[in-house]
Symmetry: D2
Subunit: 92 residues, 4 copies
């Protein structure tokens, strides 16, 4: 079976490529001695872009694996796993 | 003047290289159809690694530019700027 | 129908009472001129406690409303809503 | 010496009172069986309001204690402490 996020695969890969470019740009900014606050702003932007990718995959995951597990009446583990992975994006 | 983070420059660049590698690894995971939750866990890890870099730069920035501005008795702008950039890492 | 979180209602209410107590404690700390860093640490603790409550309710919500909508084959809206509310806890 | 945040004391106390009210409102929403997503939205709002208070205190703290320590040429500990407390608001 195709993974749940396959519907958004190109979108996700393109976003990740952009984030990879941002992390390379950050290395250049540091090597060139750019202003700390500009670097911090760029880090915050890359970090938010990563969270946006996470949300897209999360949605596909719920619409895919989690939905399947509910339809199979076997969702306890997949819901626990889902909540645990959301928790990784919080600070608790 | 060397930027404030120059003391940690190699450390910061190495961390950013590792994060760049993680974002490339994420693209591979998506192309290969890896399990959503494993991808989300890896995104969370890259995002935390970015925040760690931000904290290192933040500390150097306070010990450099912010300290200088306080010693020059001209810190209002630099403190505002510092708080604004910290805010970018919160959700407010 | 009972709301999805009714299974954890007492647990949730007790946690919220504790957080209410923390916010009252914070007011006292401020009035008494306690050290900033101690106040900030306490704010961080209250904020994490709120996120923990959110995770409990989120799990009940997925096991309740979201599951029901999937079983009724009418989950598009409820999954969108779920992802949107998770997004409120991120920084994107 | 008055604590650094005394300039904003009334503002901070009023914000904390509002957050205390929100946590009481949340208990009522849970008791009355309000919709999960509305409760989660309200939790997110209280959590952001807490972070806003933290930013106000953080700014006063930098303008007070941290500035004093720099002027006394004895800032190593206070800068470490500052970065550590900012870290509590991130996810690292």
């Amino acid at each position: 079976m195709a993974p749940a996020y396959s519907v958004d695969e190109t979108n996700i890969i393109n976003r990740l490529k952009r984030i990879e470019g941002q992390t390379r740009g950050l290395q250049r900014m540091v090597s060139e001695g750019k202003y700390c606050v500009d670097i911090l702003t760029q880090i915050s932007s890359a970090s938010k872009a990563l969270e946006k990718v996470a949300l897209i995959i999360l949605k596909d995951h719920i619409n895919g694996c989690v939905r399947d597990s509910i339809e199979r009446n076997d969702s306890e583990e997949s819901v626990d796993e889902l909540v645990n992975v959301v928790e990784k994006f919080l600070r608790t």
